[in-house]
């Protein structure tokens, strides 16, 4: 029962605790601490209970099917190695919780802190207990995210925010690489299940994808374990509260990387690539980390670099590929966790008591903190590798392995020297830590008067230091069996003979240790005057600070490149967008043309009609001249476009499309008037001022010209190819055959629009109505830019004449001048209405219909506006275009719904003819009613748009008049 559910519980409990912690009151320090402590204790106890199951190579597995088809199952798996980590996570977690209870100030929102801490504990347990690689990657990312939240806990502090962001960026990118690597491994091994992956090590190493997979997984592991050159995020993560540093950045999270390297060691290790990549990363981290640690002024910075260095030591050991080295690596993981966690806590106490962590200020604290000082001394001695302490044992094993020949190379030969050097550095920074803080003259200017902390705050350190001592003195009894269990689970039958005793006789590793100890102390003696005042980071190597490189990369990626993308592809600039659109359209059109070889083979000028040819010569000339003139001569361009439109219109008539020609003609008129109304508000543009002169502008124009040329050519080729090929049988025959028999009309186009495809037309008139209302709404509260066109010269002369003559009002001459045309236009009104009615009524059988009639009717209204002016018309004629639109839409909809009364689908039509005296036979289909709706809506929409724009001129006159009046009053005053 316990073994069955223990694994899910180990992960689930911390997450449950995290959720509960988030629900407690914000300042419930004791309740939070109790909750978290009990959770950690339960995890620890549960893990301890599981020991018998993993002893002697046993594995506890729990599998829940999730996506078995994809090989993704929730597999939890605990062996001796995972057990060791579970104990570390639970045990150190418990100690950190106790410590944090006294470390966090009552003002801090502890709820958030404990909640995140427990969530982290759960995620970390997930990493070590995952039996499926994908699941592992998920928990791996979860640790990155929670660690981001924990580092940024004091988010009001900029350093905390930056440090958190940096840690997340680096470990997050690493996590992504890791996932890719896992997918490759899963691909090679055929399964994501850890047991199967571990069993197929030889196949994976021999596979061509081994190297990419290895590189990706290493990218994940080395970033997580802060290995050179990705180490720099760890010192910046020291902005986190110290309990977080003690937990995440010494004992657990940074260990995830080396945990993974050890976990996959049987699969990946033992190749040249592994040795050189992991070895170079490890040894350079070991040496560089130790060297940087010497020159830190922040206590936590020193510990952070020391952690980096020790992780480098573990990585180096794993790189050797020998089983004995792997034993040493696992052993050092445990040892480092104990002494480094206690040192972080000691640093936290010093910070807490003295109010600073700067070693330049701290001095002579031994008398104030005698017990803490003693504990810290023992722990740093373990860090330095002094005999009788745990750090010494694993370091000796490291030296022994460094001497051994693994792979003949320069790296291998240099290993013993580099190891000794780094070890000497470790002695130097350990001595410095102790000497500069606790000895020397008593510091006078500390922010706080230092006292020993409450006993419970010191207790975790005492327990950890005790562990250091016990392991260091009697390793065989204390750690021996457990280490053996862990090692066996990783190495299996390759587990070597090893001895954990303190005395191995007088051998080379002992000599190296002695050299390192003496050398380190001498180095400290030489440096300590300089160190007491120097800046952070070692001289000469400050440029190596990865932070700066990282920030530069970040600025480049997230600012410069992003800006470039935004400028070049963003929506702020229309032209590049359209250019891309046109190019893509061109490609899309050209591609099938090349594929199918649709090049017309024979170009024929047969049956070319000279009249149409002349019409189109004019039309083409109009189009090209309009394109050329549209910038500086807008009016001319508009007229020319009208010319091209007329050519189009004639083409429609010519080739049997009278309906299109009619519609095109009336729409052409309305469009031209509409644009004419708008022209006056465009800015004046003078040709001489901004002709493109720069080379870039000229190149741009040439590129656009080529693009336009290519598009034109493409359209020509495609349309020619289509027109000269034999027509396929289309659905058009169906409509032609049934236009009269089923639609009750002879004009097939009109019958399609109002009957067969009536629903499409219904949608279309709705769009038209919406556009008209949008135009109306846009212009209702809008004041356009001031007029940019002066009064025409003619009108100025007329106005001057009016001014000069007695008894003439301003504008009277202009009005008289237009009298004849306006009278004509007024007389035309009933004629146009009759024309519209005629077009409408004949629509079903002959060219015409609702659209054409509607626009024609709108032109009738428009002419009245032109003839009499806006005010004159609106005094006499009440046009309510919005109602026309609404009424038209309702009419069309109700006609369609009428079919429901007869149990037929929407828009089913019925037809017949009605004899009207004098007029004759009139087609009367229900489609006619629908067409009436179209007619009403088109009239309403067109008139609404025209009036809305026309009204702007009245409004701007009014505004100008008010402004002028205001100026006059001011002048008078």
């Amino acid at each position: 029962m316990i073994t069955n559910n223990a694994l899910p519980a180990l992960i689930f409990l911390p997450f449950l605790g995290s959720m509960l912690a988030a629900l407690l009151p914000a300042n419930a320090r004791n309740a939070e601490a109790w909750l978290s402590g009990v959770t950690a204790l339960l995890t620890f106890g549960l893990a301890a209970l599981l020991y018998p199951s993993v002893e002697n190579g046993g594995i506890v597995r729990r599998e829940v099917a999730w996506l078995p088809e994809l090989g993704l199952n929730l597999v939890l798996r605990m062996d001796g190695f995972a057990w060791l980590f579970t104990i570390l996570i639970g045990g150190i977690g418990l100690l950190v919780v106790i410590y944090a209870r006294y470390y966090m100030s009552p003002q801090d929102p502890v709820r958030r802190f404990y909640s995140f801490l427990l969530a982290f504990m759960g995620a970390m347990q997930g990493v070590v207990l995952s039996g499926n690689l994908i699941l592992l990657a998920i928990f791996w990312e979860l640790t990155s995210i929670v660690s981001f939240l924990l580092i940024g806990y004091w988010y009001h502090n900029a350093a905390a925010r930056d440090g958190a962001r940096m840690a997340l960026t680096i470990t997050g990118i690493g996590g992504l690489c890791l996932l890719l690597g896992f997918i490759l491994i899963g691909h090679i091994a055929g399964s994501y299940d850890l047991d199967e992956v571990l069993a197929s090590g030889a196949a994976i190493r021999a596979h061509p994808l081994y190297l990419p997979a290895l590189l990706l997984i290493l990218a994940g592991a080395l970033t997580k374990s802060a290995q050179f050159p990705f180490h720099f995020w760890l010192p910046n993560a020291m902005a986190a509260p110290t309990p977080v540093s003690a937990y995440l950045h010494s004992a657990t999270m940074v260990k995830a990387g080396v945990f993974l390297l050890a976990r996959l060691w049987p699969v990946l290790a033992g190749t040249d690539a592994w040795f050189f990549i992991v070895g170079i990363a490890g040894i350079s981290t070991l040496v560089i980390g130790a060297y940087f640690a010497i020159f830190q002024q922040d206590l936590k910075g020193l510990l952070a670099y020391s952690t980096i260095s020790h992780l480098g030591l573990i990585t180096t050991l794993l790189s050797f590929g020998s089983p004995l080295a792997a034993v040493a690596a696992i052993f050092h993981m445990v040892n480092h966790a104990t002494f480094k966690a206690s040192l972080f806590m000691a640093a936290g106490i010093i910070d807490h008591e003295a109010g600073t962590r700067d070693m330049r200020k701290l001095s002579g604290l031994f008398s104030a903190l005698p017990i803490t000082a003693t504990l810290a001394m023992v722990a740093s001695a373990a860090m330095a590798g002094v005999p009788l302490l745990n750090g010494f044992l694993s370091k000796e094993m490291f030296f022994a392995e460094a001497i051994e020949e693994h792979r003949e190379s320069l790296l291998d030969s240099a290993m013993p020297y580099l190891a000794t050097l780094a070890s000497a550095f470790a002695v130097t920074y350990s001595v410095r830590f102790i000497h500069s803080v606790f000895f020397g003259p008593k510091a006078a200017d500390l922010p706080n008067e230092a006292h020993e902390p409450p006993h419970w705050m010191r207790l975790p350190i005492e327990l950890l230091v005790l562990a250091c001592l016990l392991v260091g003195i009697i390793p065989g009894i204390t750690i021996g069996p457990y280490l053996n269990t862990a090692v066996t689970s990783v190495l299996g039958d390759r587990t070597p003979e090893y001895s954990l005793s303190i005395w191995h006789g007088f051998n080379l590793p002992l000599v190296m240790s002695a050299i390192a100890l003496v050398g380190g102390v001498i180095l400290y003696l030489l440096l300590h005057r300089y160190l007491a005042h120097c800046k952070e980071d070692p001289p000469g190597l400050r440029v190596l600070v990865g932070q700066r490189i990282f920030e530069r990369v970040l600025v480049t990626v997230s600012w410069r490149w992003a800006r470039w993308v935004e400028v070049n592809l963003g929506t702020r600039r229309l032209q590049p967008q359209l250019r891309v659109l046109v190019t893509v359209a061109l490609m899309a059109g050209a591609w099938p043309l090349f594929e199918a070889g649709l090049m017309p083979d024979l170009i024929s000028v047969a049956n070319l009609d000279p009249v149409l040819a002349i019409i189109w010569i004019v039309g083409i000339g109009c189009a090209i001249t309009a394109a050329y003139q549209a910038k500086y001569h807008r009016f001319a361009a508009l007229i020319l476009i009208g010319g091209a439109g007329l050519s189009t219109c004639i083409t429609f008539v010519w080739f049997s499309a009278p309906d299109l020609a009619l519609t095109q003609l009336v729409v052409e008129v309305v469009t031209t008037v509409l644009i004419l109304l708008g022209l006056r508000w465009l800015p004046k543009r003078i040709e001489e001022i901004d002709t493109p002169t720069t080379l870039a502008a000229r190149l741009r124009r040439q590129r656009d010209f080529l693009l336009a040329l290519a598009c034109g050519l493409g359209v020509t080729v495609v349309s020619y190819a289509i027109m000269t090929s034999a027509p396929p049988t289309t659905v058009g025959d169906f409509y032609l055959e049934r236009a009269y028999s089923e639609g009750g009309g002879t004009n097939a186009v009109n019958v399609i629009l109002v009957d067969f495809r009536g629903f499409d037309t219904f949608g279309e008139i709705t769009v038209l109505g919406i556009v008209a209302l949008s135009v109306f709404a846009l212009l209702r509260r809008f004041r356009p830019a001031p007029d940019s066109i002066e009064l025409p010269e003619q009108q100025r002369i007329q106005n001057a004449y009016d001014d000069a003559q007695q008894g003439r009002k301003l504008g009277e001459t202009a009005h008289d001048y237009l009298l004849v045309p306006s009278v004509l236009m007024q007389w035309m009104f009933p004629v146009i209405i009759a024309l519209a009615a005629y077009l409408f009524l004949r629509g079903h059988d002959l060219p015409g219909g609702g659209f054409t009639a509607g626009v024609a009717m709108a032109i009738g209204f428009l002419l009245q506006y032109l003839a009499g002016g806006t005010r004159w018309v609106e005094e006499r004629l009440r046009i309510l275009p919005v109602r026309w639109i609404g009424f038209g839409l309702f009419m069309a909809a109700f006609t369609g719904m009428g079919a429901w009364l007869f149990g037929l689908p929407f828009l089913t039509s019925a037809s017949g003819y009605l004899e009207i005296p004098l007029i004759g036979e009139v087609p009367l289909a229900s489609a006619l009613l629908f067409d009436l709706g179209v007619f009403l809506l088109v009239v309403g929409a067109t008139v609404l748009m025209l009036i809305a724009i026309a009204h702007q001129s009245i409004r701007s006159h009014r505004v100008r008049a008010t402004e002028a009046a205001a100026t006059r009053t001011e002048e008078a005053a």
Partner: protein
């Protein structure tokens, strides 16, 4: 005839695309108008060019589809003409509004940096 018409479409489309890529709003509107002529004729021409064969059938007679031009492209183009009128109107008003709000008639609502 086909050659003439396809050359005309090419000229309309080319001029339209050229104007579409110009920086002033008015040019873009003009370009859209030209382009829509080209596209309308293009769609229309997919029904093939027939002279004197408008799709207007005789009442109550047996209909021979081969005697008439295809009405479907015509119905499509008729719809297209009306819709392109609506979009032209909308663009024109957006142009005016943009000119009023930003003081420029550049398509991006601001003059390019020199």
């Amino acid at each position: 005839m086909e050659l003439l018409l396809s050359l005309s479409m090419g000229a309309l489309a080319g001029s339209g695309v050229w104007l579409l890529l110009r920086p002033r709003t008015y040019q873009v509107i003009m370009g859209l108008a030209l382009l829509s002529y080209a596209v309308n004729i293009f769609i229309f021409s997919t029904g093939r060019l027939r002279v004197n064969a408008p799709p207007i059938v005789e009442k109550g007679m047996e209909v021979d589809p081969a005697a008439f031009t295809d009405p479907v492209p015509q119905a499509l183009v008729l719809t297209a003409i009306v819709i392109s009128f609506a979009t032209t109107a909308l663009f024109l008003v957006v142009l005016l509004a943009s000119r009023g709000l930003t003081g420029t008639d550049h398509v991006d609502g601001r003059e390019p940096e020199k």
